[in-house]
């Protein structure tokens, strides 16, 4: 029975009030094909308000003069001025390069450590459940706490890490990890990886539970070793989960400056300056929201391109 016919089947209004009764009209509307759009309307409005509007506003900001401490010229359309400045801005290019290093190495370490941890926990060893909770602890720590904790542990005067490394003979003297441009970024990546590898562990563990054990039994019978099983069964079966985890972590790493803000503030001498931190400084130290908006748009476009390329290359869509 079509909806049109269903509408036609409704009894005619019995009075004038019945003809304008909102409940009756609503009832009639619910029998039409427009009803589904009406049901989607609240969600559409909500998404527009909390996702679309800020995104469009961010784009608009990047074409606008908006310096909060220079109210006189604010709001004026400046076209591509901020993007032109960006092309000639050496700090932007340095930040872009540092962002690539920061994201690439953080993701690599987090993925490898997260995978190893998930595989170990998936073996149902004695105490595995307690270990699983302990492994997740770093991820539950706020960035501010994790950052300050590691800054203290790596301190060149009172840091316990230096103490251990000197006592076991790996270091001759205490090292100022964040004051040396050769070690500042690597140390920050280490802290970031420590903090976020449980994210991979968590998702990969969930994925491992979904892989049929028959596959491993068959592989055993065929003589496949542990590494071959990992390469030919586990990783391909986890492809979708790994793709999702990598994309989510890359977005998090590109967008969030808080750990670097605590550990180095981009120093020493901009050696850990990344795009998100640069945008943050432009917005909240220089109050240049126009330029900060343009930097954010570039980050947004880069992330979209990355996600698109990664999904295509990892062939997730073929699953």
């Amino acid at each position: 029975m079509s909806r049109g016919r269903a509408m036609a089947a409704l009894p005619p209004p019995r009075s004038t009030w019945d003809a304008i009764n909102p409940l009756r009209l609503l009832g009639e509307l619910s029998e039409t094909r427009y009803w589904m759009y009406l049901l989607l309307l609240p969600s559409a409005l909500l998404i527009t308000a909390i996702v679309l509007f800020p995104t469009v506003y961010g784009f608009q900001l990047s074409f606008t003069e908006m310096r909060l401490n220079r109210p006189a010229g604010n709001g004026a359309f400046v076209g591509l001025k901020h993007y032109q400045r960006m092309l000639a801005d050496p700090i932007f290019w340095l930040s872009l390069r540092n962002t690539a290093v920061w994201v690439t190495f953080s993701i690599l370490i987090e993925f490898v450590v997260g995978l190893v941890a998930a595989l170990a926990l998936n073996r149902n060893l004695w105490g595995g459940k307690v270990l699983a909770v302990l492994i997740l602890v770093p991820y539950f720590l706020p960035n501010v706490v994790a950052g300050n904790m590691w800054a203290l542990m790596l301190d060149s005067r009172v840091g316990v890490i230096n103490d251990i490394l000197v006592n076991i003979g790996l270091l001759q003297e205490y090292k100022a990890w964040f004051a040396d441009p050769n070690t500042a970024m690597a140390t920050a990546i280490f802290v970031e990886a420590w903090h976020s590898f449980p994210f991979f562990t968590l998702l990969i563990m969930a994925g491992l539970k979904g892989i049929p054990t028959d596959l491993y039994k068959a592989a055993d019978i065929d003589g496949a070793g542990a590494f071959a099983q990992l390469r030919l069964i586990t990783l391909p079966m986890l492809r979708t989960i790994i793709a999702a985890a990598v994309i989510l972590r890359v977005i998090g790493l590109v967008n969030s400056p808080d750990l670097l803000l605590i550990l180095t503030q981009g120093g020493p001498g901009r050696s850990t300056q990344v795009l998100s931190l640069y945008a943050f400084q432009n917005a909240y130290s220089d109050f240049n929201f126009g330029y900060a908006g343009a930097l954010s748009v570039v980050m947004f476009v880069l992330l979209m391109l990355f996600a698109w390329a990664y999904i295509r290359l990892s062939k997730v869509n073929q699953d």
Binding site: L68, N69, P71, R157, G269, Q281, Y284, S285, D286
Partner: protein, 417 residues
Amino acid sequence: MTAKFDRRSVLKLGGGMLAASALLPHQAFAQQTAINYWHTFTSQSEAAGLQAVLDLFKAAHPDVAVTPENIPNPEFMAKITAAVVGGSRPNVTMVSSERFEDLLAMGALSDMTDRIAGWERRGDFDDKRFASITKDGKTYGVPGFTFVDWGYYRKDWFDEAGLAAPTTYDEFRDAAIKLTDASKGRFGFGLRGGPGGQNFVVNVIEAFGSPVKKEDGTIGLDRDIVVKALDWYAGLLVKDKAVPPSAANDGFQQVISGFQTGQTAMIWHHTGSYQDIASKLKPGVEFGTFAMPAGPATRVARLAYAYNCITNDENADAAWEWIKFWGEPDAAVAFLEKTGYMPASTVAAQDQRIVGNPMYKAAADTLGFGIPQPSFPGAAGWAQNTVLPALQQILIGQATPDQAADQIIEGLAAAIA
């Protein structure tokens, strides 16, 4: 047993409660006006100081409830900007001198000129105390306390080496070199090259003879002088090796703990860290204080003020009560005794508890010749995002003083454009 209530007994009970409530003291129903106070206090001593003032205020003004909210200094501008733009301003905000111009420009501050003019304790404050919070004849805050720049030195080490507290940059550098013994992990000076260190770089540049801006508002930085100043300051690490190698990342905590733990012989800071240092080292025996030494051209020591400002017109009268309470001598001295921050009120600064303490002599002297920080829209951002990275690049060997000076001057031009 189940209690049974009929309608009549419920009405009786309600009526009885209403009658009883009318007999309670009126004060129990007095409405407290609630205000929140954003501040950037971080150390234990600062928290204790704030609590001391809050306790005194609560006793004096039971009708006003102050809720303090700590905003960490690095996040302060981000939070207050978001609060102003988002319409969720605090009632009262602690505003340091260097942030005044930016906050005023974004419309965060309320005009307090009339309230201050009619305040019975206005005469306790020198006019200069309000200079850094006044623009176009309007005043936007009341100084709560004073940041007086000074230095701390290890008196026991100086005595052992036969040295006196430095009064000039040359004496300072000599002492730093003489007291450095890398084999013992001891360095002459704890240079703050990390977060918060930017203002000392600006001070050194001015002490070498180059103001940041001229009176007509144009760039005052002289490239040759800036190069000399940077060469001298960064040279304490790069050439003299009289500074810990961690300097490029050393912020407040690192510099203070370096001094407290015997790594460094001298540090520059302000009086607000006095109690923290005195909690680890014996005043007058293990450490002493000195006024900032004179540079080749002039002596630069900053007098900056933490102003309390009305940032929300709602409950402004209660906010004003809280703000002006900081000018009461008892509150100012209680805060000083917990922290070391000097009062902004001239009357409070003459209190015997302050002038009778020889450790505060350097601060009292500095009140005579200290000057405010350069203040213009964009000043704080320029210092933090251009001056500090430029210094760090020299410290880590990525730039020469010439290159750093160019960055600093170009950055200033962009900031004031």
